[in-house]
């Protein structure tokens, strides 16, 4: 994905109208990527439609229906305080996907500009940014996210910020590497020769040409971020009760594994599927955006 030889070709054709079609065609042919895409699309659709679906409130309790097995009335059963699990799964999908997408957006919006600055200017700017990145990368992603989330205080928003910030170094390093190879290209030299400003060169000549690998990385990081959100919620640092999140549902379900296994089954399966979906899609995108592969 960080293959430097990708860049000259991508650079030369970056703005040509033919390319998106070619990527799309390649992506369409990739069966596993399409499966991933469909799974992701399905979850996104369910999450978006949550308020419109005819399901009970995810926080509505019924003391008479504790830990009921799946039935026609409650398709996925009920949980430890009599809430409908299907409804909690659907609303939980919102939390998971939002956490995945928003935290990656945070990471991209901070990481990519810093990476471009570091790669483009080099020198002291690069030294400071790159060393700070190294320092952050020395800490395992999840540990960093847990520490940040604990520091910010438990809430879904803070969990997203924590995950986003923890993923920043990945994007800085990736972008910086890409920029380093792109900035020596003839067309960048050309832009500089005709007297364009740094800002314009960075935004119009460099950024578009480092974009494909970032897109791939972002897709794959969404998967990681979803797992991170589930982990934080599992530890009580993410979504706060009574609002549902797959991670916190799993945390509760663990106490009833032998009495009510379905409580753990659904959130576990959902996390697995959505993460696999994003991974397949990301892999497919990488292949599709790689000009070397036909």
């Amino acid at each position: 994905m960080t293959d430097a030889s990708l860049m000259p070709a991508a650079g030369a054709t970056a703005l040509a109208p033919r390319k998106p079609n070619r990527t799309w065609t390649k992506l369409k042919k990739n069966r596993s990527a399409m499966v991933g895409g469909v799974v992701v699309a399905l979850f996104v659709l369910i999450a978006l439609l949550a308020p419109l679906l005819p399901i009970p409130s995810p926080s509505a309790t019924d003391w008479g229906k504790i830990r009921l097995a799946p039935s026609t009335e409650h398709w996925m059963g009920t949980d430890e305080i009599g809430r409908d699990i299907l409804s909690r799964m659907i609303w939980g999908a919102r939390a998971s996907l939002m956490a995945g997408v928003i935290s990656v957006m945070i990471a991209v919006m901070i990481g990519v500009p810093l990476g471009v600055l570091a790669g483009y200017f080099g020198g002291w700017t690069d030294q400071i940014i790159a060393r700070a990145t190294d320092a952050l990368l020395a800490m395992p992603f999840l540990i960093l996210a847990i520490a940040l989330a604990a520091f910010l205080g438990p809430s879904l928003t803070n969990a997203m910020i924590a995950i986003g910030l923890s993923a920043v170094p990945i994007f800085i390093r990736l972008t910086r590497g890409q920029v380093l190879s792109v900035k020596t290209e003839d067309y960048v030299e050309g832009a500089r020769a005709i007297g364009l400003g740094h800002l314009r060169i960075m935004s119009h000549y460099i950024l578009p040409n480092v974009f494909p690998p970032i897109l791939v990385q972002a897709t794959l990081t969404i998967a990681t971020a979803i797992i991170a959100e589930a982990s934080l919620s599992f530890l009580g640092l993410g979504q706060q009760p009574p609002l549902p999140s797959w991670g916190s549902m799993l945390a509760t379900a663990r106490n009833f594994l032998s009495q009510a296994p379905w409580m753990a089954l659904w959130p576990g399966a959902a996390i697995f599927m959505v993460v696999m979906g994003f991974n397949l899609l990301g892999d497919g995108l990488r292949d599709a955006l790689d000009p070397k592969e036909t």
Partner: protein, 504 residues
């Protein structure tokens, strides 16, 4: 090494390994205890550790009657102002120093005077102490105190080496980090949050009745994990098994289940006077607290979270027990009345409040049930789960609106109410302070006659159920899961695990 030698060595190692394992007993705790300094402890789990570590002057039998331990005989004077205690002879502390009237006196003095002591209120009636013999201790009281023996049968009467404590205090070390006591096992190691290891004390006066080389206490807050550890044989005894696991344990041949109703209570403590967080509607208006209490369906809570195995309540004493005031039965849920009260109080709804809770799954589940019930009356409760020792220290600092907690209970009623609602009470983190209550409770300490004493507690109950600084919810039944093969275990209503006579 020849193959045979190697085999022999390996076999030898295995044999020694299993011998060592056989002489250990592992006990799973629901929380990590706080300080292991008997002067400072305020958690229930610490008493579980102390029972093996530090003997007490008095103990209790399964009927919760006082029995001798380090004190062999005791007698109050006619006027109730002096208590003479005969102490057991031939007892040594773990550091080899002898236990006698002098050392016991120094321990009680330290419990009374140490600035960080939580025992001061419990021992406040003692105004003078004297070693009237090598093993005779005479206590002089400022006023008759019918609670004293019961206090000395708990933390306040746990005997430790005064020399070791003084040395630690003087050098600024924490005595609780390396306690030196009198019990059948001595302190070996503590890894916070992981384990407390005690080793057999050969010179204990009752050593023949203790059959393990080491006792290992492991705090495992997750009830399922704790149970799984007993199933797999990694724990021998687990305290406070979740009621939802009880039916399964009954059907499991590998496990034994013991149960006993607890003498304490569980509920919600509300910050009514500790710092700025007491100034909201909840802390400043009793009607809001009454509304919260009325919004909770105690029976449903018991059914949902505890499979109906516990006893619902509304006072510190459980319904049907000696000290319960029958004139004030457990209230039914009344959402309309709760809304009315909130309207009378002029509170803007929803009223946002934060409830601190332990970070174990049962506490979280209970918190969510209360959250859902109270929401119908107009409360918007945010749950904040913290580990138990943090919860206590945050409460002490006034950093809470309300907190979900309870009290393991003591045999004398005074200890179940006085520390929580008297102005200077050691456990009064909510800083509830009403002169009338102080007066009544103080008087109750001096009245030996049951009827008149009960009348006083009933009187205090009337004020407390109006002011409601504490919402009592239910009374626990202690369930213990014990590995098959452990013999001689008996459950006690105070929840404390006694290892005397236990084998395995």
């Amino acid at each position: 090494m020849k193959p045979t030698t190697l085999m022999m060595t390996l076999l030898g190692t295995v044999a020694i390994g299993s011998m060592a394992a056989a002489a250990d007993i592992r006990i799973g705790l629901n929380e990590d205890p706080d300080s292991l300094d008997p002067a400072q402890s305020r958690t229930f789990v610490s008493s579980l550790v102390y029972e093996s570590l530090c003997d007490r002057l008095f103990n209790t039998n399964t009927d919760m009657e006082i029995i001798p331990e380090l004190a062999t005989e005791w007698e109050f004077s006619e006027d109730g102002l002096s208590l003479v205690i005969q102490l057991r002879e031939g007892v040594t502390h773990h550091d080899g120093t002898p236990f006698n009237a002098e050392s016991a006196m120094r321990v009680l003095e330290r419990n009374q005077t140490l600035p960080t002591s939580n025992r001061r209120g419990e021992l406040s009636s003692i105004v003078g102490m004297e070693a009237t013999g090598e093993h005779e201790l005479t206590l002089t009281l400022g006023a008759p105190d019918v609670t004293l023996i019961a206090q000395l049968a708990h933390h306040a009467g746990r005997m430790y080496s005064p020399d070791a404590a003084a040395a630690a205090d003087e050098s600024g070390r924490t005595f609780g980090a390396n306690p030196v006591c009198t019990g059948p096992f001595k302190f070996a190691q503590r890894v916070e949050g992981d384990r407390i290891v005690l080793e057999r004390f050969e010179d204990h006066w009752d050593a023949e009745n203790y059959h393990f080389d080491r006792v290992i206490y492991q705090p495992i807050p997750d009830t399922t994990v704790r149970l799984a550890n007993v199933r797999s044989g990694d724990l021998d005894i687990s305290e406070r098994t979740a009621p939802s696991d009880v039916p399964q344990i009954r059907n499991d041949d590998r496990l034994q289940l013991f149960e006993v109703p607890n003498i304490g209570y569980q509920g919600i403590t509300i910050n009514v006077g500790n710092g700025p967080r007491a100034e909201g509607p909840l802390g400043s208006d009793a009607r809001v607290r009454q509304a919260l209490s009325l919004s909770i369906d105690r029976e449903a809570l018991n059914q949902v979270v505890f499979e109906g195995q516990y006893v619902v309540g509304n006072q510190w004493a459980a319904p049907g027990t000696t000290w319960y005031d029958e004139r004030d039965p457990v209230p039914a849920r009344d959402i309309d009345r709760a809304r009315e009260l909130l309207a009378e109080a002029g509170v803007e709804l929803p009223l946002r409040i934060e409830m601190q809770t332990g970070n174990n799954p049962v506490a979280m589940q209970q918190g969510q049930v209360i959250q859902a019930m109270a929401a119908e009356a107009g409360f918007e409760i945010a749950l904040r789960a913290t580990e138990f020792a943090t919860l206590l220290s945050e409460n002490a600092a006034g950093n809470f609106d309300m907190s979900q907690q309870g009290w393991s209970g003591r045999i004398d009623p005074d200890a179940n109410i006085h520390p929580f609602v008297s102005c200077e009470g050691a456990n009064n983190d909510k800083k509830y302070c009403v002169e009338e209550i102080d007066r009544i409770l103080q008087e109750a300490r001096t009245v030996p006659d049951f009827e008149s004493r009960k009348a006083l507690y009933d009187q205090s109950r009337e004020i407390l159920s109006q002011d409601m600084p504490l919402i009592y919810l239910y009374h626990i039944v202690y369930f213990y899961t014990v590995r098959q093969g452990i013999e001689g275990f008996e459950p006690y209503a105070d929840g404390i695990i006694r290892l005397r006579g236990v084998t395995g």
